[in-house]
């Protein structure tokens, strides 16, 4: 029986793990990967103590900090269910079932998919969800960025530096996101924005050759070799069937990271916490761990 199982190893999960190690709790970290979305951020300029650090470097430092302690981290072991049976909580993965007194869900968010024909077929065959990773492979090619918020603008601004043409396909009447980023994109000579446009499909043979869309009733087809999907994020909360969630699937937490299920706490981007920031996720992870620690002491199992 563990004191605590932490689900996820992004900024929230890793910080919770550091706090749990310092409290000498008996605990385990179950996660798909390490670093979470933070690792995919290009430049981070708002994490106190670092004027500028890449997301990959920050994630590496988080991991190094966690590895200072002898923490059991099971990578590539995503959680399939969390079921509370009285004061015993059972966390199941494809490999095993673990019993614990408390759980911190810090499983973050994943990229939302378009849900159009061709998306699955051409994934990694020209269609990608990570401009930071795969962008450079599309140098001197024509590409489309799907979306109109900050992540789409960020992707487009990376791509205009080395791609021939960058089309931004946005289903809203105008771009969202930061004004500074919008201005930069509109100034880029090789970028073209389509507003009120909805992607209808991805076409190609072995690799992507075109994206089709519908703009104000008219069908259009753009010849592109790359498609970057940046239409927001979905919380990884499907495995936690019993906890209360909002309409977006985010786990509802109070200011002490308590959920609707006793012993189950949650932290970071998977929750209803009002801002999704690396530094906020880290702070929430710390807070969730301290709440779990207090809960264990209060219940004297």
């Amino acid at each position: 029986m563990y004191d605590l199982i932490i689900i996820g190893a992004g900024p929230a999960g890793i910080t919770a793990a550091v706090y749990a190690a310092r409290k000498k709790m008996q605990f385990l970290v179950l996660t798909q990967d390490i670093g979470g979305q933070a690792a995919w951020s290009a430049d981070v300029e708002n994490y106190t103590g670092y004027q500028l650090i890449t997301g990959a470097d920050l994630a590496r430092r988080f991991e190094e900090h966690m590895r200072q302690y002898a923490i059991a981290v099971h990578e590539q072991e995503p959680v399939e269910s969390v079921v509370a049976e009285g004061y015993r909580i059972v966390v199941r993965t494809a490999r095993a079932a673990y019993e614990t007194r408390t759980v911190i869900i810090a499983s973050g968010k994943r990229s939302r998919e378009l849900g159009v024909p061709g998306e699955k077929e051409f994934r990694n065959r020209g269609l990608t969800y990570c401009a930071t990773c795969d962008g450079p492979l599309f140098a001197k090619k024509d590409v489309a960025v799907i979306g109109g918020g900050n992540s789409a603008l960020d992707a487009a601004l990376q791509l205009v530096r080395f791609c021939s043409r960058v089309y931004v396909i946005n289903d809203a009447p105008r771009l969202g996101g930061d004004e500074i980023a919008q201005d930069k994109l509109l100034e880029a000579k090789n970028a073209q924005v389509f507003n009120n446009a909805r992607v209808t499909g991805i076409e190609g043979d072995k690799f992507v050759k075109a994206v089709t869309m519908r703009q104000e009733g008219a069908r259009r087809r753009l010849d592109v070799q790359g498609v970057f999907v940046e239409i927001g994020l979905l919380p990884n909360s499907g495995f936690a069937k019993e906890v209360g969630k909002n309409e977006s699937g985010e786990i509802i937490v109070d200011c002490s990271n308590t959920t609707s299920v006793p012993g189950v706490f949650a932290a970071g981007d998977v929750t209803t916490v009002p801002e999704k920031q690396i530094i906020i996720a880290a702070g929430e992870g710390a807070k969730a761990c301290l709440t779990a620690f207090r809960y264990l002491n209060q219940h004297r199992f």
Partner: protein, 79 residues
């Protein structure tokens, strides 16, 4: 036993950085190609793996797409 390990990566991709770090930590020598700067190697990577996502690892001719630690360990015969 010495393995022939090739990594196709981009400088900006976190899984590429982690894959290379993993090999270094395990004292595995490898040749890295930056496919954002080397078009011929980018083509070779696409040819070998049939896809365009990075990283791609070639371990003694076995192709691994992504930082799949378990597959990498199995291919290298490390615990």
């Amino acid at each position: 036993m010495a393995h022939t390990v090739t990594v196709y990566s981009t400088p900006s991709c976190p899984y590429c950085i982690r894959a290379k770090q993993f090999l270094t930590d395990n004292k595995i020598e490898f040749t890295n190609y930056d496919v954002s700067a080397d078009q011929a190697k980018a083509d070779e990577m696409v040819e070998k793996s049939g896809q365009m996502g990075v990283p791609v690892l070639d371990i003694d001719g076995r192709i691994i797409v992504g930082f799949d630690k378990e597959k990498i360990k199995t291919s290298l015969g490390i615990a």
